[in-house]
Symmetry: C2
């Protein structure tokens, strides 16, 4: 396959026009030449935090649902993603891990969001299942878990980090009331990412930075939900200006009701109401995850920040892969896997290529 007359966007080499030739699932040749590009070619998008969409929910999905989800995500240009759990019993979390035993190839693993988080910052998580690091916690830390979101102030956090390090699981700080000194210690231990910043995190104060202030001040990588609801556009732009494009990772945090009609749905045993693009818990009126589709996250971030396309390829793909330690993906460069999103000038996904095969055509 050869695609001609492209605006090629690489997170390292930047933007240039030319053609890309694909063979045996990889990018085999890139030619640079002057042309009026017919489309934008970016590395396929990566969503490391998503609970579901179109009625599929990580917590109840069967193997075939994950397959279906992967296909749905191709429509969004997403070629790598991590289904994400909510706080639940070990038994229920183990069931999800079993259901994902045979990973569809665009699923890079599982993101456990909880249960070792702060009850005070539960967000839309069911407090019944929120616990500290108790005996037997290791059993849920097995294949295919890639990320676990935990609060650094909970009892046993250091033990959790020790086990995760041995197993190659990335610890991400989230749902946390931690102070600056706790965050600083965690950062110095090598924990370098924060989940859906700044949602469900202690706020910035000038006499206690909290997780929000520490995330901005220290060199953390931040997941961000660019729906304009979880944070207003000017906050997203502010974070972009403070942190720069190298430290941000777009995520959807989408729930199973994403893409469905308004109504009452369920999230981790709690009732939620979907109204327009807003999902709230019925009882507390807390935001209950997003209904964001990844292609919209990409468009929004560009609109909110006026970032370059090169930067957009970092926040939509490259940085998340780096954070997971995944190599060989996320660049448009000879030898890299041909996971690609072809976009029009409005950044709408026209085609998605996965391992060199066209898997979506608008």
């Amino acid at each position: 396959m050869k695609i001609e007359d492209l605006l090629i966007v690489d997170p390292v080499d930047g933007e240039y026009t030319g053609s890309v030739k694909i063979g045996k699932g990889k990018i085999v040749d890139i030619r640079r030449y002057h042309c009026t590009p017919k489309a934008i070619l970016m590395p396929g998008f990566v969503d490391v935090h998503t609970h579901g969409q179109y009625g599929i929910d990580t917590m109840s999905a069967k193997a075939e649902n994950f397959e279906e989800w992967a296909k749905r995500n191709f429509e969004q240009g997403v070629t790598t993603f991590l289904p994400t759990t909510v706080s639940a019993s070990f038994e229920d979390i183990l069931k999800v891990e079993d259901a994902l035993a045979k990973l569809p190839s665009s699923i890079a693993g599982l993101h456990l969001e909880g249960p070792f988080i702060s009850k005070e910052k539960k967000g839309a998580q069911n407090p019944e299942h929120i616990i500290s690091v108790t005996n037997g916690f290791e059993q849920i830390l097995r294949y295919p878990v890639k990320i676990i979101t935990a609060a650094p102030e909970i009892d046993g956090f250091n033990r959790l980090v020790g086990i995760c390090r041995k197993k190659g699981i990335v610890v991400s700080i989230g749902h946390s009331m931690a102070t600056y000194s706790v965050l600083r210690r965690a950062f110095e231990m090598g924990i370098d990412r924060i989940t859906h910043f700044p949602n469900a995190l202690s706020t910035l104060h000038h006499r206690e930075l909290g997780v929000t202030g520490s995330g901005l001040y220290l060199d953390f990588n931040l997941e961000i939900i660019a729906d304009g609801i979880h944070s207003v556009p000017e906050f997203v732009d502010f974070v972009y200006r403070v942190k720069g494009a190298d430290r941000l990772m777009l995520v959807t945090d989408s729930i199973s009701a994403t893409g469905l009609e308004n109504g009452i749905y369920e999230l981790g045993g709690l009732k939620l109401e979907l109204k327009g693009k807003r999902a709230e818990l019925v009882e507390s009126r807390s935001l209950a995850g997003s209904t964001l589709l990844f292609n919209d996250a990409v468009k929004n971030f560009r609109k909110f920040t006026n970032c370059s396309l090169k930067e957009l390829s970092k926040v939509s793909s490259y940085n998340s892969l780096l954070s997971l330690g995944i190599t060989g993906l996320g660049r448009i460069k000879e030898g890299y896997t041909a996971n690609l999103a072809l976009l029009n000038e409005d950044l709408t996904v026209l085609k998605t290529i996965f391992k060199g095969e066209e898997v979506y055509n608008k």
Copy 2:
């Protein structure tokens, strides 16, 4: 007068070694040469927000007290300052203006902090005297007023800005609960500074930036009290990293009890308790201004941020002068007024030179 073997620090030209010759109150010649400097020479410091020190209070000071205050400030390297009022009746504010009719030459004018501010963010101001922009407000906006701190959300703010603009008075946003949209409008009207950031301002939230978030996000110049009490050191460093040294202005916000012993004092008719370096209102336990001396503000800022000396000369002098539109001061350059602070390597003021005369020698 000629001073040899200096580390000369200029906010524009940066740091270099050499000598400075002074004649008729001005810097007349600068020689650059390699040497081991015996002292650091910086532009004299500027404190645009100070309520008093050593028992002197702007609100009750007589002409001779202002003279004494100016002398005391030379000990701190301060060669330009603005005594600052608190919210009070027009009558009392007019009395202060009268007492300052003949300005001691290191006083560049008066800073009115209030009375057109937010009662919700009164800080240590007496709420009895906090008002919106009422009939007759113009009468207090006369010589020698240079700055007025006001809340942009109060009724009549636009009228206030209009009058101030005509009279050459700088409007500074402070003691405010304003939202991002109000701040943005103010910024677009040309208001570009914020008083003692982020104290007595609405806090940052990701769905409403408030004055704190807007001050960081938009291109405002920020006064900052670097005592480690009004904001923790890491917050000061965070603000420095976000805004850069060009947008920060050190102020003391010092009260009359500054430099005095622990005890009960008064501030704008309210009782305050001084304990160590902390001054609190007795009733509410709000911070009641600082007990910071300017030389300590300079040392603290350097310690908190590890900024360069060039940057330190910006935040301690140059930026505040720019913000007031004062030219011919604040640089070490031929033709500039010789207002200078000579410091040792710990940044302790050894000598102060004012209009070419040595006015302090440690």
